[in-house]
């Protein structure tokens, strides 16, 4: 079940997605011990952020809606967390965000001396002003951000993209052209819910991002399109909670698959998905996950 993605070695292809129980290295470690092949931290910015007032997460019949607001302890505090597990060689990918190339660059300067696998640049959070999709839909800004990060680290750089734009592919090309080693697709979709009895938007921030079952077909389409057009590895993300979902994203072109909202089922979800993928591979006579990547394109 081992996979190698842009030089990153994972025990299996099922990873913890960013923003999910990943504020502390202790909970990230628990996901690894529970069977995740790797983990992506909550997005870390330059300064500590408390995020939005509750309700920050509400369930809908299409999935989970959230506007957490990029709460994070800041790069210095998270750097201390990482320093505490030095030498354990944990498969941690650090997600980072910022308002532009300068801020991204500074976050990398603070974090980079620590031991972790790679960066995932969050250029796709749909609900915070001045960061995420607001800069991540502009290929020129994305190119500048990737260059700023690339010039400050030897570690692989993945760019997590949004499907909230028709320019996903264009943005991905700009990222790869500026030195990104791969693409993570997709982030949550811009969304909103209104509670009808009170007439109020359900989230305190009103606008949020939809994750979970409702966005999986969108993820499949974007991954398929990226695989068709790019040569770099893709990490798939969006509504995966079963082995069928994981295999679907792999067939679309993902080399590894992130699981987020499905943590709702508990930490057993990683082993559950991995066991199913393993049985599928046995049945279909695949020896390595890599053999399945992009097979949906041969038709």
């Amino acid at each position: 079940m081992r996979v190698s993605v842009a030089g990153m070695k994972f025990e299996n292809p099922i990873l913890l997605a960013s923003g999910i129980a990943g504020v502390t290295v202790k909970t990230l470690t628990r996901a690894i011990e529970s069977g995740a092949g790797g983990v992506v931290s909550k997005s870390i910015g330059l300064e500590p952020r408390e995020g939005y007032r509750n309700p920050t997460l509400v369930a809908t019949d299409s999935g989970l809606l959230n506007a957490v607001g990029l709460s994070n302890p800041g790069a210095h505090a998270f750097s201390e967390e990482l320093a505490a597990v030095k030498g354990r060689r944990l498969p941690i990918v650090v997600s980072i965000f910022g308002g532009g190339p300068v801020e991204f660059g500074r976050v990398v300067e603070i974090l980079d001396r620590n031991e972790f696998l790679a960066y995932e640049l969050n250029l796709s959070c749909p609900h915070v002003e001045g960061v995420g999709t607001e800069i991540g839909h502009d290929p020129e800004v994305v190119a500048a951000v990737v260059k700023a990060v690339r010039s400050r680290t030897q570690k692989p750089v993945f760019v997590k993209l949004s499907a909230n734009t028709h320019r996903t592919l264009e943005v991905a090309r700009a990222a790869v052209g500026s030195g990104a080693n791969g693409i993570t697709a997709i982030n949550s979709m811009g969304a909103m819910a209104i509670e009808v009895e009170t007439g109020r938007p359900s989230l305190a921030h009103k606008y949020g991002g939809l994750s979970g079952p409702g966005i999986r077909p969108i993820a499949v389409a974007r991954i398929y399109e990226l695989y068709e057009n790019l040569k770099v590895p893709i990490i798939g993300c969006g509504g995966v909670s079963t082995w069928e979902h994981a295999v679907e994203l792999i067939l679309a072109g993902a080399s590894a698959v992130e699981v987020g909202t499905a943590l709702y089922e508990g930490y057993g979800v990683f082993n559950k998905i991995n066991r199913g993928v393993e049985q599928y591979m046995k049945r279909k006579k695949y020896r390595r996950v890599q053999e399945m990547v992009g097979l949906g394109h041969k038709f």
């Binding site: 129980a21 309700p55 989970l64 957490v68 800041g74 009895e197 109020r200 359900s202 709702y264």
Partner: protein, 270 residues
């Protein structure tokens, strides 16, 4: 498991009961909470203000429930003012409850930490347990649920402490715990209240060789094991707690009673 079942349920307040000078219970009807277990909590939405975790202080077969709060922030300030007919949102019941089985139980509550103790005492009695309760408060006017707990477990099994000595034993609930554990051959200590008190009780219980369970509080957002903001050690308090036992707490002694994480995820002193 289907996440759409976690949608917020809109409920109306049935009544507002002032329990003492600072603490108020708010009653509402919610059938889903009729199957709650002692120590479980709900995420309570005060529309326009906040959503926050609250222990259920009462629930019955008809789904008549209550939460018991002190005003400490925008949401709870609004909650304690709620009148009959006001709208609130409810998700849950959530969390890992207290263990209910036949034992010699000592329940120790401080301040609003008494909230889950009444359903717990009743459930333990139904399971055939021997139950004693220590109620702690700053002053006489801050003691919570003295009368209903006395009715539930009989007066001689309820012990009162006030920090200022205005009523009952002068001092802290922890002062009485060691003696009661020995005298009453207590086999399990249950607690909810200020975390410094609970940490002391943990140490007393471990020394005495008795089981220990504590209901903790942390900054909480999703309540369903996703956001990670309520972590203590490797535990997510919304799923693994809010009740943690001595084994779980042993793994988090660098945090329990000492540190918690603020909404950004930074450590702050308790």
């Amino acid at each position: 498991m289907d996440i759409s079942s976690e949608r917020t349920r809109i409920r109306r307040v049935i009544r507002n009961v002032k329990e003492n000078r600072s603490i108020t219970s708010v009653y509402f009807k919610d059938e889903e909470c009729s199957s709650a277990k002692p120590g479980q909590f709900v995420m309570l939405w005060e529309p326009g203000f906040d959503e926050f975790p609250m222990s259920l202080s009462n629930y019955d077969e008809q789904g008549v429930c209550s939460v018991t709060a002190k005003p400490w922030g925008p949401g709870s300030n609004e909650l304690v003012r709620a009148k009959r007919g006001d709208v609130i949102g409810i998700r849950g019941p959530y969390g890992h409850p207290f263990t209910v089985e036949r034992c010699s139980a000592l329940l120790v509550g401080g301040g609003t930490g008494l909230a889950p103790m009444l359903p717990l005492a009743r459930a333990l009695l139904r399971a055939g347990s021997k139950v004693a309760v220590v109620i702690g408060g700053r002053t006489k006017a801050d003691l919570l649920f003295e009368k209903p707990l006395q009715r539930a477990v009989r007066r001689k099994n309820v012990f009162l402490t006030t920090d200022d000595g205005s009523y009952g034993h002068a001092g802290f609930p922890t002062d009485l715990a060691e003696g009661l554990i020995a005298e009453r051959k207590v086999t399990r200590v249950y607690t909810c209240g200020p975390e410094v008190m609970m940490r002391k009780l943990y140490e007393i219980s471990v020394r005495a060789g008795v089981d220990f369970e504590a209901s903790l509080e942390r900054s909480m957002k999703c309540g369903i094991g996703i956001c990670g903001s309520c972590s203590i050690g490797k535990n997510l308090l919304c799923r693994d707690g809010a009740v943690l036992d001595a084994d779980a707490l042993k793994e988090a002694l660098d945090e329990f009673g000492l540190l918690q994480r603020d909404p950004s995820g930074r450590y702050i002193r308790i």
